[in-house]
């Protein structure tokens, strides 16, 4: 970091190169550090406190790796590790390029790395060892015979992938933040930093989306309360930077196309980064009560100090260089893409404020009133459902509005049929017995948005098909590959529609809980559950109680489900293993909830959750769409075709070639 500052001040090429190499060296050292921790886990080195607390001898190798980020100390080092991959990639990709910008980028990323490395070195060091006083002032290493093992809630394949994905999202936003701050500090000309960081932002956003979706799925199949989103503060922390990051990905197009909203975009990036740090603070410090959060921790003041420093640096940089961000914003018409992006940003920011204020309100209440209050799912659902539906509406409207101005004729052409069919779907839903207002609105909007997306693909493909003579499917592929960002974006929007379909299903959730001795039956919806047997099974590193449930669907035996609870003696904790029979229509979700205190009979809790699978499918589509948007556009190439009629005059007698457009050919 010092080298980078010296390089900026002196502008000496050798110092710039040296600072860059120092950046590479830091990354390599962090990789060595995380490799050492992994080695300690794999070799069961229980003289290291962190290893002893989060692993044991019987733990499968796969989970020994997962244990690296399962506790506070390791997860913060892991954060530095992921960040170092980004920093290394950025420094390597732009080595020798953008000499006015990159030294600043190096300093900002080094500053962030410095913070996390200071915490890992001086506050929560994962390499602390057990010791006992020896002769004189000496300490002897003491190794435990075995460790406590991984938290059973984390012994799940998805949980091995979820944190790295989420961390890749969180840390990834450091890159656009570093470029934005660097461009501001260095008064880097034009919108180039936006072009440079677009892909990095999308990569971070993609990882954040994967992390959030995996977290939802993990909560659904592991925690066993029947849902996937409980508005827990730690869940909320993961969605906050996602919301502002989404706003940035949209509003940045205004800067690229029209040079507008420069100040707004810079602050959106700053806020997104601050929210990633704030989210980590909530997870680490127990600021708010959460089943996920770590207990009160020594890192708390460090995080607050870092947030304060980052804010002061950002504000000072903005204030001193605000004239650099001045732009001549003009709006031709209210019915334009620009205004739709303004509303999109407004709604995303309102959603962010609603979630953030709700999450922190118990803390404010404690400070102001001295009393503790709770802000749970009923509050968040009531506030966020209308916001979400408005956002869904904008998802359909925004892309169909033209830049600068959309004519009335164009509005009719683009929105007429989708709006009409959406309303028809809503009326049909009500006629078929739909009585929930929000679900009906959601149905109308889902049909509307899907049709607008399909219409966009169809219209573009028809033009290509007319020009090239290729069939409509091949034209859709060509169209998409020609402008991956635009059509990848549409795919993402379609994924969001699928997720909303899944969300709307939760309005019709049913559940039933009853004492079920072996042989007992329970009916829920079209399913009949028969408790066939109940076993206690000792396994290598846990003991389980497992119910065997035969499931009949409309009178036909469909599947056997095995809900269980496991007890891990090494850390005296237990975990739920939910059994789920999932279809596109609904999930039958069965939990062995424990034993009745009066009768000692197993209690089975069954849920019928409609449309949940659509949420996971939507998540996959969102991720695929983002990956598609990251693929470089295919450039059109000219191929030549012989003219059907000879040209009468001209120096050459051979028929003149007519250019036709072909794609994907050399």
């Amino acid at each position: 970091m010092g080298g980078g500052i010296a390089a900026i001040v002196t502008r000496r090429p050798l110092l710039i190169k040296s600072a860059r190499n120092a950046g590479f060296a830091v990354c390599v050292l962090i990789w060595l550090s995380i490799s050492s921790l992994a080695y300690l886990f794999v070799t069961d080195n229980f003289s290291v406190a962190y290893v002893a607390e989060h692993s044991n001898k019987t733990q499968p190798l796969f989970f020994k790796f997962a244990a690296i980020w399962s506790g506070q100390e390791g997860s913060l080092l892991f954060w530095s590790f992921i960040l170092s991959i980004y920093v290394f990639s950025v420094l390597f990709t732009y080595r020798g390029k953008h000499p006015e910008l990159m030294p600043y980028v190096g300093v900002v990323t080094a500053g962030v790395q410095l913070f996390f490395l200071m915490i890992s070195n001086f506050v929560v060091n994962p390499f602390n060892v057990f010791g006992s006083p020896g002769a004189g002032a000496a300490m002897n290493f003491v190794a435990r015979a075995d460790g406590r093992g991984l938290n059973p809630l984390l012994e799940y394949t998805e949980m091995v992938i979820h944190p790295p994905m989420l961390y890749s999202g969180y840390t990834g936003f450091t890159i656009p933040f570093a470029f934005a701050l660097a461009a501001l500090l260095g008064r880097y000309p034009g919108e180039k930093w936006i072009h440079l960081t677009r892909r990095w932002t999308m990569i971070a956003w993609c990882f954040q989306s994967i992390g959030v979706i995996l977290g939802m799925h993990w909560a659904y199949v592991v925690l066993g309360w029947g849902g996937y989103w409980g508005w827990d503060p730690v869940e909320n922390a993961s969605i906050l930077p996602w919301l502002t990051g989404t706003a940035f990905l949209h509003s940045v197009m205004m800067q690229e196309k029209r040079g507008m909203m420069r100040v707004w975009n810079v602050w959106l990036v700053f806020v997104t980064f601050l929210l990633t740090i704030f989210g980590t603070t909530m997870t680490r410090t127990g600021l708010v009560s959460s089943v996920h959060a770590f207990a009160q921790s020594p890192v708390e003041p460090w995080f607050y100090a870092f947030i304060g420093i980052v804010f002061v640096v950002c504000f000072t940089a903005y204030w001193r260089n605000r004239d650099y961000l001045r732009s001549d914003n003009q709006l031709d018409s209210l019915a334009s893409r620009e205004s739709s992006f303004l509303f999109n940003n407004l709604i995303l920011l309102v959603a962010c404020i609603a979630v953030l204020s709700g999450t922190l309100f118990p803390v404010f209440s404690r400070w102001v009133q001295g009393t503790q209050i709770s802000v749970g799912a009923p509050f968040f659902n009531k506030v966020n459902i209308p916001i979400g539906l408005f956002l869904l509406f904008l998802t359909g409207v925004g892309p169909l509005l033209a830049w600068r101005k959309t004519s009335v004729e164009s509005l009719k052409r683009n929105f007429g049929w989708p709006a009409l069919l959406g309303i028809v779907a809503g009326i049909a839903g009500v006629a078929l017995g739909l009585r929930n207002f929000y679900v009906t609105v959601c149905l109308i909007l889902c049909v509307f948005v899907t049709l607008t997306i399909l219409q966009e693909f169809f219209r573009g493909a028809r033009v290509i098909s007319a020009r090239t003579g290729s069939n409509i499917i091949s034209s859709v592929v060509q169209l998409t590959l020609r402008n991956t960002r635009r059509y990848g974006g549409y795919v993402v929007h379609f994924g969001i529609v699928l997720i909303f379909i899944g969300f709307s299903g939760s309005a019709f959730n049913q559940d039933k809980q009853m004492d079920m001795p072996v042989g007992a039956q329970m009916e829920i919806g079209p399913y009949k559950l028969v408790h066939q047997s109940f076993d206690s099974i000792p396994e290598t590193n846990y003991t389980s109680e497992k119910a065997t449930i035969a499931v009949d669907h409309n009178g036909e035996q469909t599947i056997m489900l095995y809900p269980e609870r496991r007890f891990y003696p090494s850390n005296e904790e237990s975990g739920t293993m939910v059994a789920v029979y999932s279809t596109l229509k609904e999930d039958l979700y069965v939990v062995y909830a424990g034993r009745s205190p009066d009768t000692q009979v197993p209690v089975i809790h069954a849920y019928l959750n409609p449309l949940v699978k659509w949420v996971w499918l939507g998540g996959i589509v969102v991720v695929l769409g983002t990956i598609l948007a990251l693929v470089p556009n295919q450039q059109p190439v000219l191929a030549f075709n012989r003219a059907t009629e000879p040209i009468a005059a001209g120096p050459e007698q051979s028929p003149a070639p007519l250019p036709i457009e072909r794609r994907g050919e050399p």
Partner: protein, 167 residues
């Protein structure tokens, strides 16, 4: 002699394993009451579990919860007394304080929690309107350059730009 020691050792191991299994059984199973009434579920979804897990009472099933089972049993009993939902909720508030409510009551300082999203939306909307008006004024005041273009031509150019170059 050696045989007797081995047999004793094996017996002890077997007893220890059985004891462990029994302890595990108690710890695994937790103690849950089957909750049958729909009304109890509805009222329970407006209450928080008081074990500090920040989960809705009827959804709290996390490992080691010391509160939810007893609270659900209490809820079932209070619902059966035929008192209104509000009275049942109030009885929990009296016992645990306002923290037991899943949403902040819309009164006093807590009303602010409900108002913040609306205030944010209102303020944001006002800002967007001001910004749009300002940008529109700038556009109207901006000097037109180049030769005059007919509205049909402009519309055609816009449509073409829409179709081909839009992003």
């Amino acid at each position: 002699m050696t045989g007797t020691v081995i047999t004793l050792f094996r017996k002890r191991r077997r007893v220890a394993a059985l004891v462990m299994l029994a302890v595990a059984g108690v710890l695994i199973s937790g103690l849950v009451y089957a909750q049958n009434s729909d009304r109890a579920k509805r009222v329970g979804s407006q209450l928080m579990c008081m074990c500090n897990c920040n989960q809705i009472l009827t959804q709290c099933n996390h490992v080691g919860c010391t509160m939810s089972a007893a609270m659900i049993k209490e809820l079932d009993q209070r619902v059966q007394t035929n008192s209104s939902d509000d009275l049942v909720l109030q009885s929990f508030v009296q016992e645990f304080g306002t923290k037991v409510l899943a949403s902040p009551p819309a009164q006093g300082f807590n009303l602010l929690a409900w108002m913040i999203p609306g205030i944010a939306f209102g303020a944001g909307l006002a800002l967007v309107i001001v910004v749009i008006r300002q940008w529109r004024r700038r556009f109207e005041l901006a000097p037109a350059g180049g030769p005059p273009v007919s509205s049909e031509m402009l519309e055609r150019a816009r449509r073409q730009a829409d179709q081909e170059t839009d992003d």
